[in-house]
């Protein structure tokens, strides 16, 4: 098996229960695996949550922790995917002084070229939102840094897989067991 350390996206479909985050993070903690990013939200199925977790590990490690996730009572199914197997994005928000928008014509160009979106503008500040790959958001940050950023925040990765994950079918199989 390939022992090279790679970026894997782990998707865990779960029941929507308090305490599950604890169980899941404990599995990483015990194995000394650092979480690069973690997002949790509702999934496409009512009442089913999905964790999207990015970690840098070997494939052998990925297989083993998937087994540990699946062992948890309230985990419906866990998967791991390489970058090539997923379509993924992050989102960044930038808070910037409003006068820059009017005094620095360059900023207008940056916004246009980067496909960033203005979320709101008021007298003191305006807020930009940019979704995309990490390097795109980072490149925008570098460009804006020159003018000064009041606040910056970046989300964890969200991702969908190219291949189908048959959760709905699995759930109906569970129900008919």
């Amino acid at each position: 098996m390939n022992e090279e350390i790679k970026s894997f996206t782990i998707s865990i479909y779960t029941e929507n229960n308090i305490g599950l985050l604890n169980r899941i993070s404990a599995i990483f903690q015990r194995r000394h695996i650092n979480i690069e990013s973690l997002t949790t939200s509702q999934s496409e199925i009512e009442g089913v949550n999905r964790f999207v977790i990015v970690v840098n590990i070997t494939e052998a490690q990925a297989q083993k922790i998937i087994g540990q996730f699946q062992k948890q009572i309230e985990v419906i199914r866990a998967y791991y995917h390489t970058e090539e197997e997923t379509i993924f994005q992050e989102s960044g928000m930038f808070k910037i002084k409003s006068d820059l928008l009017f005094n620095e014509p360059q900023i207008q160009n940056i916004i246009k070229e980067s496909n960033a979106r203005i979320v709101t503008v008021n007298k003191e500040f305006f807020v930009l939102e940019k979704s995309g790959r990490r390097n795109e958001i980072e490149s925008l940050r570098r460009d804006l840094n020159i003018f000064g950023i009041m606040q910056f925040v970046r989300s964890g990765r969200i991702s969908v897989t190219k291949e189908e994950m048959k959760i709905t079918e699995m759930l109906s199989a569970f129900n008919n067991q």
Binding site: G19, G67, Q70, K71, I76, N175, Q177
Partner: protein, 577 residues
């Protein structure tokens, strides 16, 4: 279940009535056939204790002297009976005292339901008196846990708790119940849980994998089986025996698998692992097919993984998919319950005897006998050995005793030399290695199986970790037999210090009290044996006793347990001295 209990259960199940949460808890327990539980009261669980008083004819509550004792007693109960053990404690310190037993049950796959009281829900998260985040604390050591804050949740959650604890690969479940939920009211109706969405307790056995396993086994010249507790938990003892006998395969066991096949069975080749037998350890690295059944390749069993059974094709029969390929790569993995998969395997196997191969085990046994066993069981030096004590217990109990051992040298000796005629006879703390386990676990075991002789084998160190449970033994009149093998050392640690730390005996020497007087203080009859001539009679007297009995045997202070695989070494590097 007798008819009376069945009727009662039925009655509880069918009616809907308005009752309090705490009454509901008791009724759930009754519906799950719980007739005994171990625990310790306190503020946050008092409403439930009050109900227990009302239901004292239905459920017998055993007041242990420490919550750790309650958890271990529930484990002993579960291990000998295959039923779910139940322990109960108050919030905060009561709950945290359960944790060692829960962790032990988790790693040894023992079904437990632990119920803890919790501060009222409006105080949660406020650092209230005796508030502890027991859900957070117990998460890594439970199969499942849940906090109940409303009375109406109680029946469903408890039903789920029992189902999860018992099904598939068993394990401990903790249910934390706030005090307001205990006081609150609900319309009670109990339905047993028969499934949980998202949880597959037993994976389906794939017939192709059984066929592939059979082909490998039929073609093998030197097959060897290593079985673990999965055989006992799956109640697959008869199936395993049939497989071994039909295909003529020498079979060894892990400490947790001990007693599934009688010790005297000609194809039973002994224990694997750090202090296991010479032949099965050595020949693990010579077999051509290694068949692992219901065991998880613990590092105490495998030694260094880099040199473990590299020459062999590995077949792994396993209920928990996460164990497959976790430590050792399986060429064929057969998922499922061991009883089912071995049943499917049996007709596909060819009859065989592998006599030359079996002879190799016998030859190595002869070497181990000469170098180790002879001196352990038939010593010529003056001091008593732990081995001869075990041998005498075998004789007096005719191999029918359930042996509950603590942790240390005496544990390894007990597992190596006990004669087991019946399954579920070896109750010990395997994965966690918890000193203090045996005395309370013996209480639970004896209460679950009063017809069996239960003998606890304990070191002078571990005995003092839960010695207070003598009080429980006395109060409950549990006729367990307690044997303390006193070497005035934390023997196992001292052995390591001798072998690997230049004999620097840092904090392993113990000055002990008069154990017999302590036992007598708890009104338990007892004796102290210091000479070989006294041993047989004392053990005879102990086994003959109808009541609990304490026996202290002063053994050689600096004896070591061999064979031994130094930690991290290869199973082939097993040492005989």
């Amino acid at each position: 279940m007798d008819t009376e209990t069945a009727n009662k259960t039925q009655e509880v199940l069918s009616k809907t009535e308005r009752i309090t949460g705490s009454e509901a808890i008791i009724k759930c327990l009754i519906a799950e056939d719980v007739d005994i539980l171990y625990g310790y009261p306190g503020g946050a669980i008092m409403p439930v204790y009050d109900e227990l008083y009302k239901f004292r004819n239905e459920i017998h509550h055993v007041l242990t002297r420490h919550e750790q004792g309650a958890a271990h007693a529930a484990q002993g109960f579960a291990r000998i009976s295959g039923r779910v053990g139940v322990a109960m404690a108050t919030s905060g310190p009561g709950a945290t005292n359960l944790i060692t037993g829960i962790a032990d049950a988790q790693i040894d796959s023992t079904p437990l339901v632990c119920i803890t009281g919790q501060v009222p829900s409006h105080l949660l998260g406020t650092d209230a008196f005796q508030e502890t985040d027991i859900i957070g604390i117990s998460t890594p050591v439970t199969k499942w846990n849940h906090q109940v804050t409303k009375a109406s949740e109680i029946p469903e959650v408890l039903a789920k708790a029992f189902y999860i604890a018992k099904s598939g690969r068993p394990g401990p479940v903790l249910i934390d119940i706030t005090k307001d939920a205990q006081f609150g009211e609900l319309d009670f109706k109990y339905e047993k849980c028969t499934g949980v969405r998202s949880y597959i307790p037993t994976p389906k056995t794939n017939l192709e994998s059984v066929k592939a396993a059979a082909e490998l086994i039929n073609a093998a010249k030197k097959p060897m089986i290593v079985w673990g507790q999965g055989v006992i938990l799956g109640e697959a003892e008869a199936e395993l025996k049939a497989v071994i006998e039909k295909a003529g395969i020498p079979a060894a066991w892990t400490i947790m698998g001990a007693s599934a096949i009688p010790t005297s069975h000609p194809l039973n080749i002994g224990m694997v692992g750090m202090h296991g037998n010479y032949a099965p350890n050595k020949l693990t690295n010579e077999c051509d097919v290694l068949i692992a059944i219901g065991m998880r390749f613990d590092d105490r069993v495998t030694g260094s993984l880099n040199t473990y059974a590299k020459q062999a094709k590995v077949i792994h029969f396993e209920i928990d998919p996460a164990e497959v390929n976790k430590n050792v790569h399986a060429d064929v993995a057969v998922l499922g319950n061991s009883k089912d998969s071995l049943t499917e395997l049996l007709p596909l196997l060819n009859e065989n005897s592998h006599e030359a191969w079996h002879q190799e085990f016998k030859d190595l046994y002869a070497i181990e006998f000469e170098k180790v066993i002879k001196d352990d069981l038939h010593p010529t030096k003056e001091g008593l050995t732990m081995g001869e004590v075990l041998k005498e217990i075998n004789v007096q109990s005719e191999g029918n005793a359930a042996i509950v051992s603590d942790v240390g040298q005496h544990q390894m000796i007990a597992c190596r030399y006990s004669e087991f005629n019946k399954t579920k006879s070896n109750i010990t703390s395997g994965g966690l290695g918890t000193m203090g386990f045996a005395l309370p676990a013996a209480i639970g075991a004896k209460m679950a199986a009063p017809e069996r002789e239960v003998v606890a084998i304990i070191g002078d160190g571990g005995y003092q970790m839960n010695i207070q449970e003598l009080g429980t033994i006395f109060q409950q009149k549990v006729p367990v037999k307690i044997v303390v093998l006193n070497n005035e050392f934390l023997g196992m640690v001292r052995q390591w210090q001798q072998l690997f730390f230049d004999k620097r005996y840092a904090s392993t020497e113990m000055t002990n009290p008069d154990f017999v007087t302590i036992a007598k203080g708890y009104h338990i009859d007892g004796k102290r044996v210091t000479k070989r001539e006294e041993l047989a009679d004392a053990i005879k007297e102990m086994i003959a006793s109808k009541e609990s009995y304490f026996l202290e045997v002063c053994v050689e202070k600096e004896d070591n347990v061999f064979p031994m695989i130094p930690s991290g070494a290869s199973v082939s590097d097993i040492r005989l001295s």
